[in-house]
């Protein structure tokens, strides 16, 4: 189509520049949306700096199912990403950069894609009924309590949750941890009435009591 070599070269340079710019604009709207990576050389999908993880209740359900142990029926699972403390002070009463997460501000309970929790049966949390199904989960942290929020805006990115889609807000006390927890962690643990969802990072941890 384009027989003239210099013209072809010019067109290629122009298209490359346009493409580069286009790619840049997507991310430059909001620098927080750039996914930090530690294996950028992977040309398909770089490995995330805050890796994703999954926790089940019953604890280790997939592995126990495989080994033929009686596990009880599948109740819940959470899929979340695990940012690291990296020497930073995480929770505090001032905005970043002093603290990563200021008290009273929405916190995505993770990184990257919104943290997702699924209940495979109806549950009750501090008297609030939660129907069987899938939700995103985020938090409003305070010094003495965390407000855990369930929201129906699935398949979204963790920043700026659409609060119009909140379906339950549940307060739970927060405790100091003995050891510093480097990677943000969410894990289930059996309790007398069902399970606790433990959420822990830096020197803070909270337990959300789930009854079923």
């Amino acid at each position: 189509m384009i027989k003239n070599k210099p013209t072809l070269f010019f067109v290629i340079v122009l298209l490359t520049a346009l493409c580069f710019n286009a790619c840049n604009t997507i991310n430059s709207n909001n620098p927080e949306i750039q996914k930090p990576v530690f294996e950028p050389s992977n040309s398909y999908a770089a490995v995330d700096k805050s890796p994703m993880d999954i926790s089940y209740y019953p604890v280790d359900f997939p592995a126990r199912k495989m080994s033929g142990n009686d596990t009880g029926s599948l109740t819940a699972r959470v899929i979340y990403s695990r940012p690291q403390k990296n020497g930073r002070a995480i929770f505090g009463n001032e905005p970043p950069p002093k603290y990563v997460q200021q008290y009273g501000d929405l916190w995505r309970l993770g990184a990257n894609e919104a943290s997702e929790i699924e209940f495979f049966k109806p549950v009750s949390i501090k008297g609030q009924r939660i129907s069987k199904g899938r939700y995103i989960i985020y938090c409003i942290p305070f010094e003495d309590k965390w407000v855990i929020v369930f929201n129906t805006n699935l398949f979204s990115w963790g920043l700026h949750p659409d609060t119009a889609k909140d379906i339950a807000k549940i307060e739970t006390p927060v405790y100091k941890s003995e050891k510093t927890i480097e990677h943000f962690t969410m894990v289930f643990q059996p309790s007398a009435t069902g399970a606790n969802l433990i959420m822990a990072w830096d020197n803070m941890q909270a337990a959300l009591p789930i009854s079923f």
């Binding site: 398909y44 495989m66 990115w157 941890s177 003995e178």
Partner: protein, 187 residues
């Protein structure tokens, strides 16, 4: 009232005690990841950017090559492979799709693969929330498809699954070490 107060104290005490007892899991060596089709769907969603409707999502773990020869050595040809690490790899369709002319209803499935030197048999199976391929049950297969192995010049260190747009829907690209395959998903 006093009893109630004591009960509250007991609950608070036991809750803090339980937290102290919790063994928190370390970060996995083969980290988990997630890919959507359309690509980047969650980001587009919160930016209110129009995209095509959500079709699929894969959740998988990413073992690394770490200097090993992966296919034909670390992974034996002809044996079922879990297509990842740790928890079984999961694919979810948000609408009905077709793989290898088999209709697949929207829903959550587990993926496996049988690698050979020249082709991979990619498997969609309905036993969910399992670990690895140790309990793989052929009776629970919903679809199988043979796809040709493509050599690539660039070495992929971390096992990768990602979607790309195709004329008939999307291709699920599965790449590790010096090879990749492309699984056509039609919708």
């Amino acid at each position: 009232m006093k009893k109630f107060f004591l009960l509250v104290c007991a609950v608070i005490f036991s809750a803090s005690f339980l937290i102290a007892q919790t063994k928190l899991p370390p970060v996995d060596k083969s980290t988990m990841d997630m890919s959507y089709y359309p690509n980047g769907y969650p980001v587009s969603k919160i930016q209110d950017k129009p995209t095509d409707p959500l079709v699929a999502r894969v959740i998988y773990s990413r073992p690394q090559k770490s200097g090993r020869t992966v296919f034909g050595d670390l992974l034996e040809y002809g044996k079922v492979w879990r297509l990842g690490a740790n928890e079984a790899t999961e694919i979810e369709f948000y609408q009905n799709v077709k793989i290898n002319t088999t209709k697949i209803k929207k829903g959550r499935y587990t993926m496996y693969c049988i690698p050979y030197a020249d082709r991979w048999t990619v498997i969609i199976n309905k036993e969910n929330d399992t670990w690895g391929s140790f309990k793989y049950d052929i009776k629970k297969d919903v679809a199988r498809m043979d796809v040709p192995v493509q050599k690539q010049a660039e070495i992929v260190e971390a096992f990768t699954m990602t979607f790309e747009k195709a004329g008939t829907g999307t291709n699920l690209i599965i790449a590790w070490d010096d090879v990749k395959v492309s699984l056509p998903i039609v919708f």
